[in-house]
Amino acid sequence: MRIDAKGMHYRPLNKIIREAAASGEKEFELDNIGGQRYIGTGLNDSIKITINGTPGNDLGAFMNGPKIIVNANAQDGIANTMNAGEIVIHGSVGDIIGYGMRGGKLYIKGDAGYRVGIHMKEYKKQVPVIIAGGTAGDFFGEYMAGGIMILLGMNGKAPLVGDYVGTGMHGGVIYIRGKVDPYHIGKEVSCLELGEEDMKLIGAYLKEYCELFGFDFNEVMGGKFTKLVPLSLRPYGSMYVY
């Protein structure tokens, strides 16, 4: 189904998508998107949505299955509490993406803004993954509780990542391709070298990622990664305890 969304408010747009998906439609292509919010939000069906234009905030929030492809930059709040599915952004994204994300994949070709993957979590096989090809702002993985985040810095911009990386982190793992100044890293995080297991783990995701965006897999894997993991699973366990 192809929809010309020029001038359309998000409510009728998302209603059309919801109803068509419920009656079996599998593929959607949305043209002239300009800021419509909540696209793909709360959808359970295994559908594919291709977006031409800049989608609005909370793209794919609470999403549980669909695949979304954005052929432009995207804004704030992408994959908020997303449970399953895949979001591919052929551009850069705004702030608070992957907030409380609990499953699925979010692949970004360019830069990510502030507060990426705050309080991401995992449970058994539900492991959310965020990969960004460029840089990221402050509070990357703040209060992270699970999942995998990979930051590649492929566009050579500096700094690679902002302040307070992994502050309050108590689960999951962050891989950053390059050196991170300890000054930028939260107190609750330790910095490790990657082992063979790590390379295997990120290799599987990055192979898929590189194919999507046309990056050279060997060049990406050839970079020197830093691994960040939490020092404790309960960093604030003794706070407010008397």
């Binding site: 998000y10 409510r11 300009g34 800021g35 919010r37 909540y38 234009g53 800049t54 989608p55 609005g56 905030n57 909370d58 930059n73 804004q75 704030d76 850069s92 705004g94 702030d95 830069d111 803004g113 502030y114 702002g137 402050d138 509070f139 000054y183």
Partner: protein, 357 residues
């Protein structure tokens, strides 16, 4: 009206031609309308620069009056304080659902020579603005700069824009605001932009340092009467840049001061400046979440709080500089851009007219 989901508060947008080309108001209305869901109908407004070229040496006062008495009292005051060259109603279009507007009137004023023996012209005008806002019951100054004006009120911004017939004005800088008030009342005088002389501010967020900023500004003769935190930002720019002769960069450093932990890592010379500003101008620090766009005669400044608690996207295309809460609001009016970026926290985006010293 209940909306599914919780829309976030306030939208801002600004456009500027650094060549000084004038653009009609329909463009900025289109941009701010794209972010309709960020507002709730309790405030919208615009600032426009370059709209009165034939009277560019006169102070253009845009006034809001609750009633005819407040209008008469103000006009009595104007007659005494200024040479009133012209006054007229601000043209409005009344059939689009904007309810209960105040009396909207504009005046083109000159300051009599004999008033300027002990005071500069702009200090004189600033004092008259403070006097009207605080002493004349039911009268409020919407704007008081030269060759610029603010157009604001209670309603969605796109409706306010049509109400004021902004398509009939051309400006080289337009800023716009859609309001979603949370802490302070939605009233005509409380809509953004907030202005003084040629300064204007549109703001998304809240200034939790309002009390400190207010008390500090009062020591310099500012009177804060508009019941909204954003007012302090306009006056702080006036104080720092116009009166204390700060460069834009220094003013930014005073308002979005670097954290001490970052000052500790600065080069010695820079460190000395940062410490001095924190010590002397500590009371100008804006705390709390904000993204703002400042307009003035020669340019436009975009700024975020120090940890980026509110959104802002900037873009350029040829001589145009764009800033908005959302990229889609820029793409709506300029689909093809040379450059798009998210400004870093506490780092200003500065647009400047090219042929100005």
């Amino acid at each position: 009206m209940k909306i599914d989901g919780i829309p976030s508060g306030c939208a801002i947008s600004g456009i500027m031609s650094e060549e000084g080309r004038r653009i009609d108001g329909s463009v900025i209305i289109k941009s701010i309308a794209c972010m309709h869901d960020r507002s709730n109908g309790l405030g919208g407004g615009f600032a426009a620069y370059g709209i009165y070229p034939k009277r560019k040496d006169q102070y253009a006062f845009h006034m809001m009056y609750d009633n005819i008495e407040s209008k008469e009292a103000t006009e009595e005051f104007f007659k005494d304080a200024f040479n009133v060259d012209k006054d007229e109603p601000i043209p409005t279009f009344r059939e689009n659902g904007i309810s209960n507007p105040p009396i909207l009137w504009r005046y083109f004023l000159e300051v009599p020579e004999n008033r300027l023996k002990f005071i500069t012209e702009r200090d004189y005008v600033m004092k008259t603005v403070m006097k009207i806002n605080s002493e004349i019951e039911g009268a409020f100054v919407a704007s008081s700069g030269k060759d610029m004006g603010a157009f604001k009120g209670v309603g969605y911004p796109e409706d306010i824009g049509k109400f004021y017939k902004l398509e009939d004005y051309s400006a080289y800088i337009w800023t716009a605001h859609g309001r979603f008030p949370t802490n302070t009342p939605g009233w005509w005088g409380g809509a953004h932009p907030f202005t003084l002389l040629d300064w204007s501010v549109v703001h998304n967020g809240e200034i939790s340092s309002y009390g400190i900023n207010k008390r500090y500004l009062e020591m310099f003769g500012y009177r804060l009467e508009l019941r909204t935190d954003t007012e302090v930002i306009a006056y702080l720019f006036d104080l720092l840049v116009r009166r204390h002769k700060f460069s834009t960069d220094r003013a930014i450093m005073a308002l979005a001061t670097p954290f001490w932990k970052d000052i500790d890592r600065m080069e010695p010379e820079q460190k000395k400046i940062a410490i001095a500003i924190r010590q002397v101008y500590g009371s100008t620090l804006l705390n709390g979440p904000f993204s703002i766009i400042i307009g003035h005669s020669n340019g436009m400044i975009g700024l975020n709080d120090r940890i980026k608690l509110r959104p802002m996207t900037a873009a350029r295309k040829d001589d145009m500089l764009y800033m908005a809460s959302e990229e889609s609001a820029i793409r709506e009016i300029a689909p093809d851009l040379d450059e798009v970026w998210s400004p870093k926290a506490g780092t200003a985006v500065i647009g400047a007219l090219r042929d100005v010293e």
